[in-house]
């Protein structure tokens, strides 16, 4: 696979504060990569470095095999879409789209052609003569995407493009961005703090924390096999259930023991690394707990503490062996607080982390 963007040992310091630390990242041609993390994790900083709006303190950036570490933004073959749209308020939509091309002295005929094409793809032809102030949020963001589109670039950079929109528009534009990627097949790098956007859009997700990539993998792997405790807790809503305990052995059977309750680990995907006596954290997603049905061999007792019906799903907060646990079940199944339940755990989908290193075993 051809590498489209390649980041090698990139570091960035603001004075004494280190924002990015020795970051390495290879982004494939045509890939949709999402940089995910909470605010201040360095994801936007990384994007600005790729765009050339911030100068790296150390390391190199290659785009299409060319070292662009010290190139101007315009020479990097990138287009960028910002959270606040950043449309030029005094120019019409048409002018906004064509400004970059006019600066680059592209012939007027070619400009008209590209603007028309972008307007058609994004369905903003009726808006071309309007000023940004006369557009709705969704329309403005479409124009902003169009501005990247007309530049005919190799790499699209999105800096939280949907964060200023309301929930309904956000999901609509999310689908459109995905469709755009499918039809254009450009490399796209997309920064967000929204895990739903990350999981739905990405070919691969890079989860960042304190300027370091915690895990780089496809959404399924990130979700099912989080590399460490941070990734496991960050992805998924409500968060994964964490139980502290240790590994015990009874004969050739391996168990996870916490608060006097044993969980059989016979079906865990890598049972061989689980030595007896090791202090670990068991992570179980709310939807991987069975309630009253299909329990399997091992059955646990719990009582309902709080019920949160969410329409399609029903979220139960349970008391189980001295800790609280969230369980997601079908919305049609209702249990009132105080009800006693039987639980079954699917350990083939669970994650076990070392209590010290917080890495997945």
């Amino acid at each position: 696979m051809n590498s489209s963007v390649s980041i090698r040992d990139l570091s960035l310091n603001f004075g004494a504060i280190s924002v990015l630390k020795d970051l390495n990242l290879e982004i494939n041609d045509g890939e949709f990569l999402v940089l995910l993390g909470s605010s201040g994790c360095g994801k936007s900083t990384l994007l600005n470095c790729i765009a050339g709006l911030l100068d790296a303190s150390d390391g190199q950036i290659f785009i299409k095999g060319k070292n662009v570490t010290w190139e101007e933004p315009k020479d990097r073959g990138i287009g960028m879409v910002f959270q606040s749209y950043a449309l030029y308020p005094q120019m019409s939509v048409e002018k906004n789209l064509s400004f970059g091309l006019q600066v680059a002295k592209v012939p007027q005929q070619e400009i008209d052609k590209r603007v028309a094409r972008a307007a058609e793809i994004l369905q903003i032809q009726p808006l071309l003569k309007r000023k940004p102030a006369e557009l709705s949020g969704g329309q403005r963001q479409r124009v902003a995407i169009g501005r990247a589109l007309v530049r005919d670039v190799d790499v699209f950079l999105f800096d939280e493009p949907l964060s200023n929109l309301d929930a309904k528009l956000r999901s609509e534009l999310r689908v459109e961005i995905k469709r755009l990627h499918q039809s254009l097949n450009n490399t796209m790098i997309y920064v967000t703090h929204d895990q739903i956007e990350a999981l739905t859009l990405a070919d691969r997700i890079a989860i960042m924390k304190s300027g370091i990539i915690q895990q780089l993998a496809d959404p399924t792997t990130i979700y099912n096999k989080p590399r460490n405790l941070f990734v496991a807790g960050f992805i998924g809503s409500p968060s994964m259930n964490f139980l502290r305990g240790e590994i015990t052995k009874q004969g050739d059977q391996t168990f996870f023991a916490a608060n006097g309750v044993n969980f059989s680990l016979a079906h865990y995907d890598t049972p061989e690394v689980l030595q007896a006596g090791r202090k670990v954290i068991l992570g179980v997603r709310p939807e991987h707990v069975k309630v009253n049905e299909n329990l399997g061999a091992e059955v646990h007792d719990a009582t309902v503490d709080i019920e949160e019906p969410m329409g399609a799903d029903n979220l139960l907060w349970l008391k189980h062996a001295g800790h609280t646990m969230s369980v997601r079940i079908n919305g049609a199944r209702r249990f009132s607080p105080g009800t006693a339940l039987k639980l079954g755990f699917d350990m083939s989908l669970a994650s076990i982390f070392d209590a010290e290193t917080e890495l997945r075993l």
Binding site: G52, L53, K74, G79, Q83, A86, L87, P89, F99
Partner: protein
């Protein structure tokens, strides 16, 4: 109909339906203690400032015999524009007897280039300091702002020497340069803060679009900056037009600005004090900043409204 029942009890009366709470036009009380206090204070404050203006206008429209009667508040019995004509065209200062007109044109020749020059330079300064941070730009800015707090009087003698060495002491060019330099700290501060308040992403977007330093300044920043340019213009026009100290120190008599000319007319020691001419001359001198306020004030508001694009 549980709703209607709830309404009834809440209203305390047996209204049919849909009427809830108070209705009808909001009652107005014109004379209340609050209003008397408010308008009374405003009236006193207005009178305090308007009374001297009234006296000036009234006096400037009287002839000298009428002024000698001493009733400074009484309106003119016989309105005459003679003092205005004299103040503009024939009042004497020393040997020259062409009134304020000479000073007026000098002031125009000083103010126009100084205002344009200082705003042009300061706006680029502010833009560079806000958007193109370079190593030491903060220090540079701090030093520039310190300049705003140094009293002018301290710097007069050094500047006289500098202008003399440059060979432009006593010329209009010299004075224009001095005005432009002295406007720099406060104007740069003004422009830098304004440009810093514009969304940074606009600047980034323009860079991605490939625009350079001047293209971003002229095509992106300037069209969004009308309000701050009007503010800067008001500041500079009034400041430079009303300046007396630099005008008298850095120029020769034939280049004296209007303020200096006015002073020379009013403080002329020979002959009778012509109060009506002095009043007319003073109003004439103050007219330019007044006009600037009235005209650009409206433009200022419109500029703010036009520039308001919610991000």
């Amino acid at each position: 109909m549980p709703d209607a029942i709830a309404l009834k009890t809440a209203d305390g009366r047996a209204s049919g339906k849909s009427v809830s709470g108070p209705s009808g036009p909001k009652p107005k009380r014109v004379i209340s203690p609050r209003n008397i206090m408010l308008y009374g204070t405003l009236f006193v404050a207005a009178a305090y400032y308007l009374l001297p203006l009234y006296v000036m206008i009234v006096t400037s429209l009287k002839g000298m015999p009428e002024i000698r009667l001493g009733n400074i508040f009484s309106p003119p019995v016989e309105i005459t524009f003679e003092p205005w004509v004299k103040a503009w065209a024939t009042a004497c200062t020393g040997l020259n007897c062409d009134g304020l007109s000479r000073g007026f044109w000098n002031s125009v020749r000083i103010t126009v280039p100084s205002v344009i020059g200082s705003i042009a330079i300061a706006s680029v300064n502010g833009y560079a300091l806000a958007n193109w941070r370079f190593k030491g730009s903060e220090l540079f800015f701090a030093i520039l702002v310190v300049g705003a707090f140094i009293p002018y009087q301290v710097m007069i003698y050094p500047i006289v020497i500098v202008l003399r060495e440059m060979g432009i002491y006593g010329t209009l060019t010299g004075l224009i340069i001095v005005h432009s330099i002295f406007g720099m700290p406060i104007l740069t501060l003004l422009f830098r803060n304004y440009f810093a308040s514009l969304p940074q992403e606009l600047f980034k977007a323009a860079r991605i679009d490939g625009a350079g330093f001047w293209q971003i300044f002229f095509k992106i920043m300037l069209p969004m900056s009308l309000p701050i340019f009007v503010v800067a213009m008001i500041l500079q026009v009034t400041g430079i037009w009303n300046d007396f100290l630099f005008g008298v120190v850095f120029t020769r008599p034939e280049y004296y600005p209007m303020t200096v000319q006015l002073n020379n007319i009013v403080n002329s020691v020979q002959g009778v004090k012509e109060y009506n001419v002095n009043m007319a001359a003073t109003i004439l001198t103050g007219l330019v900043p007044l006009v600037v306020y009235f005209v650009s004030g409206r433009l200022f508001v419109r500029g703010i409204a036009a520039g308001a694009v919610k991000g």
